[in-house]
């Protein structure tokens, strides 16, 4: 390559005209495309400024500190319509994060179960899993959300005639009311001691396990870690006067329930729809990942005398994970982005709040760029974290 290049270079000086000189052409192509792209951006910018001047729109971000003046139906942080636009935006972002994080967690569990069911030797279980997957993958998510919201959650009985499930859990038009454990005044001590116990247990687990791998002796890492957890839990209980938690039970008063943990129908429908839809895709990812592990690996593990659980945990899963993680990353990203469909059923997520802010503040361009930038950062951040994890578990091939 290099020799032919130097040959053509020496030739170029004499015979090749500049319009056929590769270096000139390459530079020209770049300059021209840069001019086109930058020109388009400038043209759009000028138009935006002009439109903004004509219609009296402002492009600044100074409205962030103005009172928002609109209510949001649910919020993780304290909020009412006297709070600022900035707070409203945060409320939307936190709602998006809430539904995404819980959704990713549940979808991974459900997807793994269905993926394993798909590999079951039991013919019926296998086919049920297949039916679930095909049923969800070929229907638009928005239609599923509509079914869940308009045809299921909105059709629940009114508060007076709530469905009562054991727990007690109440289900009615206004949402799902759960009995929820809450910390008492001394509960903080209990929580801290549990947390400390967990951290110590993990450290002990890792240390003893390494020790076993190095020395080959049994170190009972699982048992010791469990004991650490147990001791810290009992200690925490004793310190909090044996009353760390109280159960907040929803009670029907007047026209509605008070107390307990309330999930709105919008949140419920969005969560159920997203989880069930994404689980179908994750199931296929999990199935493909496990099937990708060579059968010989399992036979080899048996041959060296590993027990079935060890085979699964030490041989199959670590190898399957390498195949599973990259598509799983894109599924979690999809779920986060798909949560923007919340708009169609009225859950106050980032996009929905952004849309209301555009109407309220009259600043389409700044608000919209904030929304887009936030999604972009979320996506890039998630994929960055998962890619780092991915790099850690991939096979380190021989270097070249």
């Amino acid at each position: 390559m290099s020799s032919s290049n130097s040959y053509s270079k020496s030739q170029a000086r004499k015979s090749i005209p500049f319009w056929r000189d590769e270096r000139v052409l390459k530079a020209a192509a770049q300059v021209i495309s840069a001019i086109i792209v930058i020109g388009a951006v400038i043209w759009v910018g000028v138009n935006v400024l002009e439109a903004a001047n004509q219609r009296g729109l402002s492009l600044g971000f100074d409205f962030i500190n103005d009172p928002a003046g609109f209510p949001i139906s649910e919020s993780v942080i304290p909020y009412d319509d006297s709070y600022t636009f900035g707070t409203a935006f945060m409320v939307g972002l936190l709602n998006t994060l809430k539904v995404s994080i819980i959704g990713i967690f549940l979808a991974t569990i459900l997807g793994t179960i269905i993926g394993l069911a798909r590999l079951s030797t039991n013919w019926i279980v296998n086919k049920i899993a297949l039916a679930y997957i095909e049923l969800h993958r070929n229907v638009p998510l928005l239609v599923l959300l509509f079914i869940w919201y308009f045809a299921v959650f909105n059709k629940l009985p009114p508060a007076k005639e709530s469905l009562e499930l054991p727990g007690p859990i109440y289900l009615n038009q206004r949402g799902l009311y759960l009995s929820w454990p809450r910390l008492t005044e001394t509960g903080g001590v209990f929580a801290i001691s549990l947390l400390v116990g967990l951290i110590v247990a993990i450290i002990v687990w890792i240390y003893l396990r390494r020790l076993r791998e190095r020395s080959g002796r049994s170190t009972y890492f699982a048992g010791v870690s469990f004991a650490v957890m147990l001791v810290s839990a009992v200690l925490g209980l004793a310190l909090s006067a044996w009353q760390p938690l109280w159960i907040d039970i929803p009670v029907f008063e007047g026209f509605n329930f008070t107390g307990g943990l309330r999930l709105t129908p919008e949140f419920g429908a969005l969560l159920v729809g997203l989880v069930m839809y994404t689980a179908a895709f994750i199931a296929e990812v999990v199935r493909a990942g496990i099937q990708a592990v060579n059968l010989g690996q399992m036979e080899a593990a048996k041959a060296v005398g590993l027990k079935p659980m060890q085979t699964l945990g030490l041989v199959i899963i670590p190898q399957a994970m390498r195949v599973i993680i990259p598509p799983l990353i894109s599924q979690t990203l999809n779920l986060t982005k798909n949560s923007s469909l919340a708009l169609a059923i009225g859950y106050a997520d980032l996009f929905n709040v952004g849309r209301i802010m555009i109407n309220q503040a009259g600043r389409a361009v700044p608000v919209f760029s904030m929304v887009m930038a936030t999604y972009l950062v979320l996506s890039l951040f998630t994929s960055l974290i998962l890619n780092i994890y991915n790099r850690k578990i991939q096979i380190s091939e021989r270097s070249e």
Binding site: Q30, N122, I124, V139, P140, A151, N154, K337, L376
Partner: protein, 407 residues
């Protein structure tokens, strides 16, 4: 086990294993240990109860009137009824070309043509109310069947080359929007504003239009991303990752509402076209990533060989690399088409009357329908399910036919 297989003569391979007797099959597949037995019983029990409930609901409880009342709304929305022949003519054109492609290329196009024929025959014969039940509309659907066959006969002739058929498709894609939109008042084709279009027609326009328009853009972006020229590479990466990082809803919202601010006021773009632009931009970024996968699969030796026989960069890319890369990514593109087809429902957010939105407005068209959300949305889901499932089924057959993933 493998040893035994190796030592046996080849004839052992040819003879298929004798089919298991049903009772043995059941014991091996459903009751081989206690855990599986419990699972089987549980599964059978739940299938029985759920299945019974579903069937009872579908045949006795459910009120299907919002679906059967005027099904043509789901097909074309508010398209003026006296101009329906234009939609019909477009359909005839597609039928004819599908028939021609069947005659020309067989394989996948054959299944596609047969599916289209069966679908239209069903539409022509189902008992339905409203205009769909009228004789004229039924006859129109049924005329498509001989049209497909006519196309097939023509397409299987020797003198009809693949270029003709492709050209036919290209012309029809240009012709159909023109035919549907019309040429203006007083002419033979009075203008039908796109706000009157709706239903499956709009869903298909958004999906097919989106994938066709995004394809060339996606290929260029993929080439740009792999380019050795840093400026072009950076722009391509920025575009692709930027679009892939945000939800489609935001892009649709931007192309429909914010774009009006970006463009000079004299440049007014039709609402449906704006949604289509959003779909195209979104789809292009994903097409680019698919195509990039195909480009990476082309061995470097191909490029070197092309250079060695004296092809220039342009020729190498378009005659050697791209044809091989695109062949490898056709299944991925079909998969992306299916997801774009499903994603057209998001156009509801910018008030486009696609299939789902039609369903929603039918619910509000009559007081008696207000509470029948389940029936309508299940019907819409079923339509999407059938079409997507058939497409993914076809794409699996396509993969086998192309021999992708085989050596």
């Amino acid at each position: 086990m493998t040893d035994a297989g190796n030592t046996k003569p080849a004839s052992a391979k040819i003879r298929p294993p004798s089919p298991l007797r049903p009772i043995v099959w059941v014991r091996r597949n459903l009751f081989n240990n206690w855990f599986n037995s419990v699972l089987t019983l549980l599964a059978l029990g739940s299938i029985y109860f759920i299945g019974r409930a579903v069937l009872e609901w579908a045949f006795f409880t459910a009120d299907w009137r919002p679906v059967t009342h005027n099904p043509i709304l789901y097909l074309v929305g508010q398209y003026p009824r006296d101009q329906l022949w234009r939609v019909g003519a477009s359909l005839l054109l597609v039928s004819f070309l599908t028939g021609m492609s069947w005659g020309k290329w067989q394989g996948i196009m054959r299944s596609f043509a047969l599916l289209l024929g069966i679908g239209l025959a069903i539409l022509g014969m189902i008992p339905a109310g409203g205009q769909l039940g009228s004789l004229a509309v039924r006859v129109f659907f049924l005329i498509n069947l001989p049209t497909i066959f006519l196309g097939y006969l023509l397409g299987s002739r020797k003198f009809v080359t693949g270029g003709w058929v492709l050209g036919g498709w290209l012309i029809s894609f240009l012709l159909i929007p023109f035919l549907l939109r019309g040429t203006g008042e007083g002419t033979i084709l009075p203008t039908v504003e796109t706000s009157m279009w709706g239903g499956l027609l709009v869903t298909l326009i958004l999906a097919v239009g989106g994938i066709l328009l995004s394809f060339p853009l996606g290929v260029l972006l993929a080439l740009g991303r792999r380019s050795s020229l840093p400026v072009i590479k950076i722009f391509s990466i920025g575009f692709i990752e930027g679009i892939r990082g945000v939800p489609l809803v935001t892009i649709l919202f931007m192309s429909s509402i914010i774009l009006a601010l970006f463009l000079p006021p004299e440049l007014r773009i039709d609402r449906l076209v704006r949604a289509l632009i959003g779909m195209t931009i979104f789809s292009a970024a994903y097409t680019a990533e698919n195509v990039r996968g195909g480009l990476q699969a082309v061995p470097l030796g191909q490029v070197e060989a092309a250079k060695a026989v004296g092809l220039n960069n342009f020729q190498t890319t378009f005659l050697i690399v791209l044809p091989q890369a695109l062949r490898a990514v056709i299944p991925a593109i079909v998969g992306q088409f299916i997801s774009l087809f499903k994603d057209t429902t998001l156009a509801i957010i910018v008030a486009i009357n696609e299939l789902l939105n039609i369903g929603k407005s039918i619910l509000q068209s009559d007081v008696e329908f207000l509470q029948l959300q389940f029936e309508v949305f299940i019907f819409v889901a079923a339509v999407f399910w059938v079409l997507s499932y058939l497409m993914s089924f076809a794409s699996r057959r396509l993969e086998t036919a192309l021999g992708v993933g085989e050596r």
